[in-house]
Symmetry: C2
Amino acid sequence: MYRTHTCGDLRLADKTRTVTLAGWVQTIRKFGSITFVDLRDRYGITQLLFSENLNSNLEADPLGREFVIQATGNVYERSNKNPNLATGDIEIGITEFRILNRSMTPPFTIQDDTDGGDDIRMKYRYLDLRRHAVKKNLELRYAVNRSARNYLHQHDFIDIETPFLIKSTPEGARDFVVPSRMNPGQFYALPQSPQTFKQLLMVSGYDRYYQVVKCFRDEDLRADRQPEFTQLDCEMSFIEQEDILNMFEGLIKHIFKEVKGINYTDTVQRMTWEEAMWQYGNDKPDIRFNMRLCNLKKPGTVFVDRTDHYALINDAGFAVFDDAETVVAMAVPGCSEYTRKQTDELTEWVKRPQVGMKGLVYIKCNNDGTFKSSVDKFYPEVKLRAISAAAGAVPGDLVVILAGAEERTRKAISDLRMYMAERLGLRRPDEFKLLWVLDFPLFEYDEEGNRWVARHHPFTAPKPEHIEVMIGNDPVIRDSEKYLEHPYAGIKANAYDMVLNGNEVGGGSIRIHQKDLQEKMFAALGMDKEEQEHKFGFLLGAFEYGAPPHGGIAYGFDRLCAILGGSEIIRDFIAFPKNNSGRDVMLNAPSEIDGIQYEELQIKLDLKR
Amino acid sequence: MYRTHTCGDLRLADKTRTVTLAGWVQTIRKFGSITFVDLRDRYGITQLLFSENLNSNLEADPLGREFVIQATGNVYERSNKNPNLATGDIEIGITEFRILNRSMTPPFTIQDDTDGGDDIRMKYRYLDLRRHAVKKNLELRYAVNRSARNYLHQHDFIDIETPFLIKSTPEGARDFVVPSRMNPGQFYALPQSPQTFKQLLMVSGYDRYYQVVKCFRDEDLRADRQPEFTQLDCEMSFIEQEDILNMFEGLIKHIFKEVKGINYTDTVQRMTWEEAMWQYGNDKPDIRFNMRLCNLKKPGTVFVDRTDHYALINDAGFAVFDDAETVVAMAVPGCSEYTRKQTDELTEWVKRPQVGMKGLVYIKCNNDGTFKSSVDKFYPEVKLRAISAAAGAVPGDLVVILAGAEERTRKAISDLRMYMAERLGLRRPDEFKLLWVLDFPLFEYDEEGNRWVARHHPFTAPKPEHIEVMIGNDPVIRDSEKYLEHPYAGIKANAYDMVLNGNEVGGGSIRIHQKDLQEKMFAALGMDKEEQEHKFGFLLGAFEYGAPPHGGIAYGFDRLCAILGGSEIIRDFIAFPKNNSGRDVMLNAPSEIDGIQYEELQIKLDLKR
């Protein structure tokens, strides 16, 4: 052992002990004939004092930042204590030391506020990882991992490893594939999730399974998506939805308590998917703040059971609203005094191509009780008051209204809601609000193919009361215009998402465990018998030998950790992440391979010009 | 929840409680109008009693083996208690039940002693996994996993996930590669181990790292090797070899205690690699039994410091011994009375192609003090007595002697040692003996290329006293005949293997942390500057910024679990293993992929005729 203590260990109680530390030189400060060195390791920073008698050594072979040294000396009480350091009461009077390894000057200094920019950070990730800001993220990640494992262990879950070299069953996302040398012309696929394996484990009677496991999706990477990512994956048998919700609320509360010291005693709110879409325009609403939507005009075909406020804006000759499929309003608290410049800013924001609106209508609900709007010439004050009231605005609020095509408008108002909350400081990183979103539609309509696709995945069970609808009806959509009238459009899934601060951190469902229902599901998704057998024959086979009722959940572990760390940048919570082109710039991977590798694998390149 | 209790929960104390259980029908026995059903789940088996009033239900819709049912009833004390079952004191008088799912007749019965043979087992792995014999293996695996994590956590290790899509650096074993769609013409590789990443984490100051992680090697599969396997991977900074040995003896003892209930208090034996090869012919000797080798004749060039017993067999005119490079004897306890048939059997055993010896010489050390040998005509009794004495034989032993080329003969006697121990019942699955093998050679001679290859891997440090030998000498071998005289042949590595019952369960080393030494190592292995930079530029780069002294170990987790389970068949300790052709016969993977996948990846097949 190169040390007797770590750089985080020593306290005043250790005074006069002779100790040996080893670590990295954080800073060097000379005061006359005395040199102070802050020595750093994973556990902390300790101040070393090199007095005059070591000057000749220091001059002959000077220390530098990030040098690795071993130093022995006695623990002294500091005259100038540093209350910000756990070891701030003491310093070590060094009697001997040696340089274990040298360092060139790093491309950026190893401090929280200097990282040299993203490209440099990623190339020198091994130095970036030294920064306290990154280290605490990985430590948090480990704490979450451990806390989750402990909870699941206490509840009889068992960690079972599932295979990585599996079969390609392109369904939804694209598989990464691996050519097999031993089986030329054939490929393995890397798992997008252990979904079917955990279901087989339930069929095998393992009852409660978990795994913290890498998954792979070969998708075009949006900002902050990774081709390999980690799931906390769980499955249970002989349970119903309510059991899962309780078990996994418990898990997250346990993590809150152990990792964040937060006693989350609130009842976790629940909301149907439809409610979330109606009230927030979004199936993962951030409920730390209010700002619910007021649906002034809904398209005729969706939200059939809901009533909008079209009467408030109708018959005013305002074509923008009349011609729009959807008109939706939201009261932004305390912004009635926004200047023209500020409202113009908001308008520009929604007109950006990422949002794609044509414009923004606003109503200022002035503190004096008057109303001022960008559409004054169409709507008299009494109408503005009524619209504002419908939107739940109080004096001092700014009501913003977007109009346009259903999906885009709903997404835009939902984005605007988050943007305004961010601007107004309502998205506090130290506040955590959990939400279950329930009763998702089982199917989504695929316009291109005029067919149904699985909203969650093809293993999700319909609500028990909808099984008959599914079994009893032909999935084929005769009239694509009227797909919403097809009985399948109303089938709800026994599925649930866990939402934390506006992020989907986990999602799952009760699974289909009946062979006939699973076959009907595959058929509904357009798979004929042969394709079903080829892709999922093993699962259908397993369902013939006594499959129990079961269900589960998977957490996006990278995202969960990021949010618990008060961030939404998952890359900062992964030790060696890839960039947006899927490259590891430190390794320079992917890269070309040797000719012999092509030969052995019996493949060759077929590059497009 | 479909149940109030599991099938392992209920005891006499629960008498008269009304309970609901859910599980699989293990057996059905009818006694007149009463039906007994053993209901099984992960936690145990509980006897259900269906009395007469349920007969009409049972007749209308009969139960079958492996049906999944839910049943409610009252807990009764059994008249016929079953002491072999934890729930054997009680039974449930069923009042109502329902079938949750049916089962076809399984291809084999779900019992310990019926598995239908390997092919069927693997195809119906989800049924095989139901067998108690397999389930207890996976439960043991989880217990080992958890116990290891707990120990490492207590010792400040932190679990950090390393990437799976990395760079191909063919070195030793073959990489599995993954074509990158986003970077056409380029490939990722799947990691053979997280070696360089864990070293980078040490450079980053994480001090103590662990991970239970999948690794991949595209090798021709010998029996019981898997293309994907699990490593328990650990690394520490600021330590020396002794620290690692202590830490990881502690780990294994902790696992013994927690998982096996064994208090392993013996000092863990240590042996140099040379000693192991000399005394056991093998670098992973099983030391549960003795049977050490007696080197009657060693080749002139190896074991230079050792003295053989050639004088005992020399000058007898026995050409088999005189012409052999190596002659080695072993006393097999208690086998002096082997019949001619039995000694012939042994001779046939060593002549099998897998062993490859020309024959076997034996000396019977009779209980009456006489000696009888297959080479009586060359060696008088006094010689036989002397040879037997040198081999440590006592009256009643059978001395076996093999002669031939160095490597083959040493391997053969070592195999024979294990075979005889197995025959004699000396390899008791419930006895555990740990051993550290130390001081491995740093290099191995590669005859084909007339060059050095790394025995462990290129990151292993030489013994401190051999660093100068390595730095100061040219690695080039001028005279291939005399490679053993090259200074590099004597360089020992700071490497260690943990051996358990004759199996290498873990191996590791102190790593090189100096850039110049690492470059010298790469050069010694025949890598020029350009190749070094291309393959390992990131590591050499990292070593420029303050790399601490560090080292670690990796356990073959599948094998470790198998041995702790008293088996050497790792496949039985993996939930979804592959067969010897690397196929998952349940999934039928690998398999062909779609044309669109080739197109997107910009590769095509190039199959040899």
